[in-house]
Amino acid sequence: MRQFIIRRLLISIIVLLGVSMMLYALVRSMPSDYVTLATATNPKVTPEMKEELRKIYGLDKSIPEGYVNWLGSAVKGEFGVSLKFNRPVTQIISEYAPITFTVAFIALVLELLIAIPLGILAARKQYTKTDYIITTLVFIGISMPTFFFAALLKKWFGPAGLNWFPAYGLLQARVIYNGFSFAKLLDYAQHLVLPISMWVVTGVGSMLRYTRTNMLEVLNADYIRTARAKGVSEHNVVYSHGFRNTLITLVTLLGSSLPGLFSGAAITEGLFALEGLGNIALTASHQADVPYLMGFNMLLAVLTIIGYLISDILYAAVDPRVRLS
């Protein structure tokens, strides 16, 4: 087992190197680098000054040379200073990550609370009306374009429609809160209703399908028939004998949904104007902010790889055959 984990870790490092190389090459081939963009409106800036600025920002080096420099400091945990925000990338990420993570985490918990009971129900009543209704709703959720659903929510429940919830931002702009208060929390909650509903509706489907498929497989297994033949109550058959085995695969699914908590944010945050990592990444990519983009995308890549690693290790822990290959 230890050897397995070490081998997986070594492979992960190689994969991360590959990802960072590809990302750096792409980010650096973006159009009109930051210096050109930032000085475009200032006629007093001479080409010599631009050269000087490029040297300061480290944009004068060729792509391979720049990559080696970037890698050298990234290994030490220094991701440079964001060109757009003029602050260290790590500082920006640690400031805005809690917002992104909290929103995503609440959504994930709600998804699980909906997906597991309904998935089990659909599996128990396979091919009945209940199953058909759940399956249809699930597929509608999976197939729903996020931006379209966000627009519908804003139209119906936002200021343009019933005016139940605000459609943009995290807090009311006009109110000033001193420190932490219940009113502030309520304000946050109101602003998060629409983004989180969008997230849950469009995301719950795959998890529900997964639960249903696994549950079906388990419920058709021989040991379930044995349990029934013994006279175990239906509730116990489904929950203690059946669901316990579905849970193992669900845990591995959770491992791989870790990166989704952050990467899905780019669109949700953009649609509802939430100040989070994803929204900043959208602005940064319009501004050719190389250090921030590298920092953010590498964070996602690291999370993806950790997710794979966790699910692989959990899988190996459950299924000894995986360890041998």
Binding site: I11, I14, V15, L16, G18, V19, M22, L23, L26, V27, S29, M30, P31, S32, Y127, Y132, T135, T136, F139, I140, I142, S143, M144, P145, T146, F147, F148, A151, L152, K154, K155, A160, N220, P259, S263, A266, I267, G270, A281, L282, S285, H286, A288, L293, F296, N297, L300, A301, T304, I305, Y308
Partner: protein, 345 residues
Amino acid sequence: MDEKYQDSLKKDAMDASEFSGEVEDVAAKQLFMTPGQIVARQFFRNRLAIVGLVILVIAILFCVVGPFLSPYSETEMFYLGADGQEVPKDVPNYSARISESGARLNKRAEPDSVHLLGTTELGHDMFTRLMYGGRVSLMVGFIVVFVELLLGVTLGGIAGYYGGWIDTIIMRLVEIFNSIPFIPLMLIISSVMINLKIPEGNKIYYTMVIMGVLYWAGVARLVRGQILSLREMEYMQAAEAGGIRGSRKIMRHLIPNVMPQIIVMATMDLGGVILTESTMSYLGIGTSAMFASWGNMVQAVTSDVIMRNAPYLWIPPGLAILFVVLAFNFVGDGLRDAFDPKMKR
């Protein structure tokens, strides 16, 4: 035991013949079906899959045949005359009428019998744009899936069949491609394309190829996994003994056996790609606004006036995306159940 059973069968048949008055030919009554027919029968028993198929046929007719029947073109603009009525295209003094004072662009017109879904912000006919937009969405779906299958099946097949260091390299590549966040990457690529001065009209083709290249990893992983287990089957030993070439073994003996899974994945991916492309178009990094696509048509909703007062400009393309993606998912799910012998109803 067996003889007894045979006897009882005969007795049953005789009883039946006494009852109906003639001896039935059991063999003639037996239903023989090819594997394909069994799959088809399973598929058509699934109501959701049929709904999906019907939606797809309607959507393809609407997008492929529709534009030929529409009286308007994709980029045709409509004007209101000084009297506030739309100027018909066939009046002799058309150019004079649309340039007289008081004449203006017929934008955001409400749906009526002339413009079934109204007109857009730029005075185009919405219903016609919807047809052309669908063409783009469907074409993107098919081409991206074609590219991803080409790469994924080839590389996955090679990795699964040859194993060893080739497998290691290909699978590490798969992991690298899987670890790159997709939407941020497409944002970067779209600005790189602006940098390379690729003409607006051609951008969509580059986008399709890039998406295919980014999506192949999933297919490769699936094909490799299946081939790893198929490789150990006895019929592959027979193929080995026959002394045929490696490439032929992969293409003739291994890939056809992975076909059901590939077809299911391709169908589901068609929906997924259309969804992703529409998201990209919505963000302004897919199809350029000059050409209609369902994604960039929904983008009209970012204007507050349109969101409040002109739902006919953004709800139809949004629903079109939803229905087409839903249809591909229904069909894919139906195919998966139909191919799976364990899922007998």
